[in-house]
């Protein structure tokens, strides 16, 4: 059964690694829902967080294929409930949303968002939360016809226990 799986890979920060990883998805015709790459606390080591809908059997093979990439240090896969996941989103909201009264700061509090910029035509809000929370606000603003633009980061994640002993990788790569 297709479910969301999140692959977390630690790699050398080198040119081409991203391509090699996405090729592993592409050749199995799996669409990547979200992808985030950033440097870890260890200099020269990148962390990939890749979310996609697939089966457990496939994600297992995918993780092994990614692990076979020379520059990849460690790979594991998770379901969303195993991870603490947060995303950031920015919403550009038409000023008419605020015409009906209500101060901007109280509206933003109500939405669980933070105000970033105010212009005559629009207000930009920022919200941090789970994907569901972010989508919920997006849907609400869209229904009211006031969402002008919207952008979302990939997931920032932490495992409830640990994402693996990345610091000990120099001894083994399994």
């Amino acid at each position: 059964m297709n479910k969301e799986y999140i692959i977390i890979a630690f790699t050398e920060n080198q040119v081409g690694v991203l391509n090699r990883i996405t090729i592993a998805y592409l050749r199995r015709k799996i669409n990547i829902e979200s992808l985030k790459v950033s440097e870890t606390s260890m200099k020269g080591i990148s962390m990939f967080v890749i979310s996609a809908f697939t089966t457990e059997q496939t994600v297992q093979k995918l993780a092994r294929a990614i692990n076979n990439i020379v520059e990849v240090i460690q790979v594991s896969y998770y379901t969303p409930d195993e991870l603490i996941t947060q995303e950031i989103a920015l919403y550009k909201i038409s000023s008419k949303f605020f015409d009906k009264g209500g101060r901007i700061d109280s509206v933003s509090r109500e939405l669980g968002a933070r105000m970033i910029e105010i212009s005559p035509g629009y207000v930009v809000m920022e919200k941090t939360g789970t994907r569901e929370e972010i989508e919920e606000l997006r849907n609400r603003l869209e229904r009211q016809g006031v969402l002008q633009e919207f952008t979302r980061s990939g997931s920032v994640v932490l495992h409830r226990d640990s994402l693996g002993d990345i610091l000990g990788f120099e001894q083994t790569k399994e």
Binding site: E12, G16, K61, E71, F169, K173
Partner: protein, 566 residues
């Protein structure tokens, strides 16, 4: 560490290759590698450069060289079309775990990405079919890139790597010092065995019907002798995959034949009856397993492979052993008991008899006055006394060669197993002969595959490569024709070939040749070919409608193998 000297990037590349033990390069010059070729001119006494007639030929020749010698094959091409022409060979090497270092020229780094003349993004294109690749844009990166390339190509599960070198990096000067690569922190090619050895050995000792499936990993690990000892100690029958052929001599009493689609009846039926499969350096490809859900229904599976991604990839796996084949076989020898298994060996014998009685061609007879392909290969094996290196193309010529060739030594059967590349045979045989000049090397080709890369006859002529060329001419793309006959109501859609006079082509290249058509000419022609000092071209006109049997139809279970057309 060597003393630093100031030299050009091209010199740095050639010195780096020499430091890795390269003495043969297969290549083809072009605009973006002229500086490199200019320097190569001064290395003629140290590096033999074989000028092929097409870059695909260079890649396949490097593969043949690597497969015959166990060394890393090296090929060079220019940028753009030269580089893209290497791709088929690289893909082939990737699937067949062949160590290659491919060097491509590239446009100067200042104009990368501008659609410059003969610019192709070969790094992106080769990414899915290389184990590793890298673009060098400054001369200072050359030595370390080559060191890494060789280390990655030959360690762990071997494979092709590609280094793309911009023209400016070839001409710039650099302080050169070579340091071989001995390890990378993100890459562990030599896993420590961590499986319960005694548990595995007990399982083997308790098995009534075990079968060893030996793949190419046995050869890559240099574990041929260990395999034989392991099988002998435990008294366990051995079957080989297509890529594993020649890892154990055909004459060995424990050898029961080849696995898979056109393998032998005994090992395929044994797979279905076995209570234990010991898979060594093989990957359960669909050509081996047939319908995976019906495969080996009664067996526990011990799967030994150096590539952890193979364990459980295609087939369930009861005991995954992530290890080098040699390490695993040595470890499992300890405590292994000799078990008689009379009934099991009787089963093997009975199935071998069934094959002999039911499969046309098994006894190498002529048909309707025509020579048959099975007859040619069996006679060739007899004439060569199991000592030759047999390099095949793809299709019926390949399957007949796999079925009826005989081998005494390892690394003697070279074929395109995973990718199934028509056109592989002739250039790969050429490369193999360059690698093992003291051995007899025979290219067994069909009339179709031969014509895909027959321009390499020029390479054979110019470099006086003493490879023997045997073309089995049935005027068909025989394997496709066979499928059309069996599964598409004999509708021979575009599989019939009108061929040129091959003898004239061989003559144009000054290669002595013969064409035979009568069964009584066969043996003397094969002997004449064997005795020829240099290259020799033998065309055998064969029975056009011969099919390879037994056959497991694509997607069918191993239990449903066909013995004949009827």
């Amino acid at each position: 560490m060597a003393n630093k000297t100031r030299i050009s990037g091209s010199d740095a590349l050639l010195k780096s290759l020499m430091a890795e033990g390269t003495d043969v390069i297969f290549g083809y010059p072009g605009g973006q590698v002229i500086p490199l070729y200019d320097r190569l001119y001064d290395y003629k006494d140290k590096i033999t450069h074989i000028l092929t007639r097409h870059e695909q030929g260079a890649a396949h020749a490097a593969q043949g060289y690597a497969r015959a010698t166990g060394k890393v094959g090296v090929c060079i091409s220019t940028s753009g079309p030269g580089a893209t022409n290497l791709l088929t060979g690289i893909a082939d090497a990737m699937l067949d775990s062949t160590p290659l270092v491919c060097i491509t020229g590239q446009v100067p780094s200042s104009i990368l990405g501008t659609d410059a003349f003969q610019e192709a993004d070969i790094v992106s294109m080769s990414m899915p079919i290389t184990k590793w690749n890298y673009q060098v844009t400054t001369a200072s990166e050359i030595a370390s890139a080559v060191a890494k390339a060789f280390y990655i190509a030959r360690s762990g599960r071997p494979g092709p790597v590609l280094i793309d070198i911009t023209k400016n990096a070839q001409v710039e000067e650099v302080d050169f010092a070579y340091r071989p690569c001995t390890g990378l922190r993100s890459y562990n090619p030599k896993p420590k065995m961590n499986c319960p050895t005694s548990e595995v050995v007990e399982l083997i000792n308790a098995s009534k019907r075990p079968l060893i499936l030996a793949g190419q990993g046995v050869k890559l690990a240099g574990a041929e002798q260990a395999l034989i000892e392991f099988a002998e100690i435990g008294n366990i029958p051995v079957a080989t995959t297509l890529m594993g052929i020649s890892a154990i001599p055909n004459s060995h009493p424990l050898f029961v034949g080849n696995l898979g689609m056109h393998g032998n009846v005994a090992p395929n039926e044994m797979t279905q009856e076995a209570d234990l499969l010991i898979a060594v350096g093989m990957r359960f490809s669909d050509r081996i397993t047939g319908a995976i859900k019906d495969y080996a229904p009664n067996a526990k599976i011990i799967h030994i492979d150096i590539d952890p991604a193979e364990l459980g990839k295609n087939l369930r796996c009861d005991i995954p052993v992530h290890a080098d084949a040699l390490d695993a076989l040595e470890a499992f020898k300890v405590g292994l008991k000799y078990v008689e298994r009379k009934e099991w060996f009787a089963f093997a014998k009975e199935k071998a008899e069934i094959e002999k009685e039911n499969v046309k061609g098994f006894c190498g007879e002529a048909r309707d006055g025509f020579i048959t392909m099975s007859q040619v290969i069996q006679k060739l094996a007899e004439v060569e006394e199991a000592n030759a290196v047999i390099v095949t193309d793809v299709g019926q010529n390949q399957m007949f060669s796999a079925r009826y060739s005989k081998f005494n030594q390892t690394r003697s059967f070279i074929t395109s197993g995973g990718l199934g590349t028509m056109g592989f045979g002739l250039p790969a045989a050429m490369g193999a002969k360059v690698g093992v000049p003291e051995r007899e090397v025979v290219a067994v080709l069909g009339d179709g595959g031969f014509q895909m890369t027959m321009q390499e006859l020029g390479t054979i002529m110019q470099n006086k490569i003493g490879v023997k060329i045997l073309v089995l001419n049935n005027s068909y793309l025989g394997m496709v024709r066979q499928w059309q006959q069996l599964f598409f109501n004999s509708r021979y859609s575009f599989t019939e070939l009108e061929n040129p006079d091959f003898a004239k082509i061989a003559a144009a290249y000054n290669i002595p040749s013969k064409r035979i058509i009568k069964p009584e000419e066969l043996e003397s022609a094969l002997r004449e070919m064997k005795e020829a000092k240099g290259s020799y071209f033998l065309e055998v006109a064969v029975f056009p409608q011969e099919n390879v049997f037994p056959m497991v139809p694509a997607g069918a279970s191993l239990s449903n193998l066909l013995m004949s057309e009827d």
